[in-house]
């Protein structure tokens, strides 16, 4: 697109006037622009929000969303206070967890003869700490849904979701069910719009990532822990024998089921390198699979990160650098030499190298553009993002700003071009009808049933951003059923009162027009309008008619797009 068009378009947006009709550009009113940013930089509109943003000025709203100092909306204080998880310190979680493990061990011995015990009975017999932990675990995904629905800092929640997937952690891996809350609250959320380098380093040092991608187990070949450590290890042995977890489904199960109080291998006598984190660090977190690294680079990165581990659970379970486990030899990564004789400092040097690498700028910018612009992001917006990355030293705020200011972001062919993920669909539907989720895990359960159980993506690549990841026949039917239930206020876990947002109408045409405005931003196709009107023809009860119209609009094809 020519530069002039772009400047004119932005000027128009800033002033809140109608954008010009370029040769390839559909007419775009300020309200259209507001709806577009709400679809991409937020979880959709709430009743009246698009109009308010159109009046305020779309770019002013964007700047305000980008300018937040911290992720959490102060206005949500009371809502978030219902989540005990946010009041629990990581050490407390770990302590309860260890306690539960020990009690369970005893309980299992007691119940040995009673292997016929039903699952319900087993659950009842759980110690109170176990039930408590289970409840806290169930809060994790619900917290995502509640924040996404209710926070005014919408872009912050979108970014939190983006980084949660970029640095995916599977909740079912060993102690990660205990580490995940602090990973989200303390590692990711304070840095969602900060410097990429800080974010990368914070994740690299997080116990959650160490455990998830096994770096905690990676030691220089032949290295041995000092004698006192080994003695402690012996003492731990009886109590800490590994027990693997079955992936997924953790809310319906006793919380610690299959989880392992499993000290990292370097405390069990591991013998060598584990390349898992090294590989994913390059392939998924930084330079990308085509970033120009070799297997040799992976091994060298693993060597540099030997010794980066976590403390034993009973010592607090935090990050620790074990000097004894570190490979002090010379290494070379991506052509950069790491001289012999260094310790933890060379890991920091490595992370900075990776964070600033041109391949990283392109790879991460490309992912951001796939999220904000198009499943197949145009080169133009990636270039804009990379320029901003270079200029700002990886300041994510500036990178996202550049994407939003890129003409590709506003191009007609990219509007409504993306299919919502289950999380985006559920949250945007609830927001559209002014629904209020409660703090039970039921709405998060709906997201899971649509195919996106949060924090339960097993592989480190996180949930996908492509429509192929989400659109399949069974899933679409589930979306329709969800929409119908939500519109009738029959969806467990959320309160919907249509009286507040959609007055009853005796005239069917008027009802459909109001539904169009509330849910589809006034862009309902003629065909959709006709189908809904046909359906309403023999429905005489105005309450039923309204619920049906809303259900069809939410479950129909237009609302699946953003």
């Amino acid at each position: 697109m020519p530069t002039m068009n772009r400047r004119v378009a932005l000027l128009a947006l800033g002033l809140g006037a109608a954008a010009p009709t370029g040769a390839q550009m559909a007419p775009m009113t300020p309200r259209d622009s507001a709806l577009h940013v709400l679809n991409r930089l937020a979880y959709g509109s709430t009743p009246g929000l698009a109009d308010r943003i159109a009046r305020e000025g779309v770019l002013r709203w964007v700047d305000r969303q980008l300018g937040v100092d911290r992720a959490d909306d102060p206005g949500l204080k009371d809502v978030l206070a219902q989540f005990d998880l946010l009041q629990s310190r990581p050490e407390d979680l770990l302590r309860s967890y260890l306690l539960v493990q020990m009690e369970r061990r005893q309980e299992k011995r007691d119940a040995a003869a009673d292997s016929m015990m039903s699952p319900d009975e087993r659950l009842r017999r759980l110690p109170p700490e176990a039930r408590e932990l289970r409840a806290l675990g169930a809060e994790l995904p619900q917290l995502v849904v509640v924040r996404a629905t209710e926070s005014d800092r919408q872009l912050a929640e979108i970014m939190a979701d983006f980084w949660t997937n970029h640095f995916n952690i599977f909740v079912g891996k060993n102690l990660d069910r205990v580490y995940l809350p602090s990973f989200i609250e303390e590692t990711l959320r304070p840095r969602i719009l900060g410097k990429f380098e800080d974010l990368l380093i914070a994740t690299a040092k997080s116990p959650a990532m160490m455990v998830y991608l096994d770096n905690a187990e990676s030691v220089a070949p032949g290295s041995q822990p000092p004698v006192p450590d080994r003695m402690a290890r012996e003492r731990m042995r009886g109590f800490a024998r590994g027990r693997g977890g079955r992936p997924g489904f953790f809310p319906p199960m006793p919380f610690p089921r299959g989880g392992a109080v499993r000290p990292p291998a370097n405390q069990r006598g591991a013998t060598g390198l584990n390349e898992n984190y090294a590989r994913e660090l390059m392939e998924l977190h930084t330079v990308g699979v085509d970033g120009g690294y070799t297997q040799k680079d992976v091994t060298e990165v693993a060597r540099i990160l030997t010794g980066w581990s976590v403390e034993r659970p009973i010592q607090g379970g935090g990050f620790v650098f074990n000097d004894w486990a570190h490979d002090r030899g010379r290494k070379t990564v991506l052509g950069v030499e790491f001289p012999a004789g260094h310790g933890q400092d060379e890991g920091m040097k490595l992370l900075k190298l990776l964070a600033e690498h041109p391949s990283t700028m392109h790879y991460v910018s490309g992912k951001l553009c796939a999220r904000f612009v198009n499943d197949t992001p145009p080169d133009g917006c990636i270039d804009d993002a990379v320029m901003a990355w270079k200029r700002s030293g990886g300041d994510l705020r500036e990178v996202v700003r550049a994407i939003v200011r890129s003409p590709d972001f506003w191009a007609a062919e990219n509007r409504a071009s993306k299919v919502k993920t289950p999380l985006e669909f559920v949250v945007s539907a609830v927001r559209a009808v002014g629904g209020v989720p409660d703090s039970t895990p039921r709405l998060a359960g709906a997201v899971a049933r649509l195919g996106q159980p949060l924090y339960q993506h097993v592989a480190p690549n996180g949930y996908g951003e492509q429509q192929e990841d989400w659109v399949n026949s069974g899933a679409l039917l589930n979306r329709m059923n969800f929409a119908v239930q939500l519109a009738a206020n029959r969806l467990p876990g959320v309160q919907v009162n249509l009286d507040l947002v959609l007055p009853l109408a005796s005239e069917r045409e008027a009802l459909v027009a109001a539904v169009d405005r509330l849910i589809l931003g006034g862009r309902m196709s003629a065909q959709t309008r006709k189908v809904i009107l046909d359906q309403l023809a023999d429905v005489n009860d105005p309450v039923q008619a309204r619920a049906l119209a809303v259900g069809l609009a939410l479950g129909g094809p237009e609302f699946q797009r953003q």
Binding site: A112, M116, G172, K173, G474, L476, L552
Partner: protein, 422 residues
């Protein structure tokens, strides 16, 4: 115990003969295989593969018991299956007594077991190992789709072009094994698949959504919606849910029995089902796994009864069906201090069906001698799971090229364990 078992087994075998499973369905299957010769696709017409994942790593040594090995009893003083309880198969291996309902199928030549199969990757993490077994790329975590989906992507044929039921997973979500660009359905419960509303309103609502998607959807949304409504229509016409179990088959209560019954209903309805998937958990028996009775035995009861009911129910149709059990890895040869077993390496998988080269222990058995074990503790893997899965895809379903299904793993029929009649 052993008397009632013998009676039961005999009753089962008689039952089979009485409704013509043996020798009829086997005879016909053999004939079909012989007649079609090298024309694989012809042989594969109407075939179904049912994958059953035992999540949590099943103790293969308790499913297919190497009762002929002293070492087995030495290593497992508390949890070994007593010799007198084992259902002997070939003098060396035997079935867990709770799998006795499968013995008639062994005798009829429709059941094979691979006792030392697994992944070349040595992880003992459940989630990594399950991921690898479903992605079909052990050691490579970035693979986006599952091997069963890749099979559907690359094996185009007219028979399955028009059916949304080609690949169906029973469960609330599409499992990794079927994730990918080829259409596949996740069905939690066949009876509830569709647009849900009051019975009098459901049809109307379904038609309304169909009209909406026909009129206003584009791209993938449009094609997927079309498949959904086609699936609903086909289900409505075929109405598989009303098909009762036949030949006196009784499915046990529980998720697995229900899933297998619904898979059988889909097969009987001729909806073009080619790959079905179901899973079952509770195999992670670190503590008190039990022997011929106990925790593991309970799970095996459900497994054995479900599989036997499935094969019995399908009867004659079983000649075109192959059921494959799989699990991410096996468990330690030696029992642990809490009467259970810890994460191991090789495990056992079962293959059941009319095309199966049955009555046969397939793949090389490495033995339990400590020197022959993996890291001295686990059953060694002598059959790469891709060779087993690949053989079934090739010889049962008629896949011609596995290079895209198991990328980076050159297919070699001489490595196939020989579970399907070539």
């Amino acid at each position: 115990m052993s008397i009632s078992r013998r009676v039961f087994v005999r009753g089962g075998a008689l039952g089979l003969v009485s409704f013509g499973l043996d020798p009829l369905f086997l005879g016909r299957a053999a004939y079909a295989a012989g007649a079609s010769g090298s024309s694989r696709l012809g042989a594969a017409k109407g075939r179904t593969l049912v994958c059953l994942f035992q999540r949590g790593a099943v103790d293969g040594l308790s499913m297919i018991v190497p009762h002929g090995e002293e070492q087995y009893y030495r290593e497992r003083p508390r949890i070994a299956i007593p010799l007198e309880a084992v259902v002997d198969l070939d003098g060396h291996f035997g079935l867990h007594p709770q799998l006795a309902p499968l013995k008639p199928f062994w005798d009829a030549g429709a059941l094979a077991a691979v006792p030392a199969v697994g992944s070349p990757d040595t992880t003992r993490s459940h989630f990594d190992a399950q991921d690898y077994m479903e992605s079909g790329t052990p050691g490579v975590k970035s693979t986006g789709d599952g091997w069963a989906n890749r099979y559907c992507q690359h094996a185009h044929d007219r028979e399955h072009a028009d059916t949304p039921f080609r690949a169906v997973a029973f469960g609330p979500q599409l499992p990794r094994i079927l994730a990918g660009s080829a259409p596949s359905l996740a069905i939690d419960d066949l009876r509830a698949f569709g647009v849900r509303a009051r019975p009098d309103a459901a049809d109307k609502l379904t038609r309304a959504f169909e009209a909406l998607y026909q009129g206003s959807a584009t791209g993938l949304l449009a094609t997927s919606a079309e498949e959904s409504f086609e699936a609903i229509r086909m289900l409505k016409t075929a109405n598989p849910s009303v098909l009762a179990a036949e030949h006196g088959a009784e499915y046990p209560r529980g998720r697995l029995g229900q899933s297998l019954q619904q898979i059988a209903q889909l097969i009987k309805s001729d909806l073009g089902l080619e790959i079905a998937f179901a899973d079952m958990s509770g195999w992670d028996t670190h503590v008190n796994q039990g022997s011929d009775q106990g925790q593991l035995a309970l799970r095996l009861t459900e497994l054995g009864a479900s599989l036997a009911a499935f094969a019995t129910d399908l009867g004659e149709r079983m000649r075109d069906v192959c059921v494959l059990t799989m699990s991410e890895f096996g468990r330690t040869v030696r029992e642990n201090g809490t009467g259970g077993t810890d994460h191991g390496h090789g495990t056992a998988m079962l293959v059941l069906g009319g095309t199966v080269n049955g009555r046969r222990i397939a793949g090389r058995w490495p033995g339990l001698d400590p020197a022959a074990r993996y890291e001295g503790r686990d059953v060694a893997v002598t059959t790469d799971f891709r060779d087993l899965f690949g053989e079934i895809l090739t010889r049962h379903l008629g896949a011609r090229d596995l290079s895209a299904v198991f990328p980076g793993y050159p297919s070699a029929p001489d490595r196939f364990p020989g579970v399907i009649r070539a």
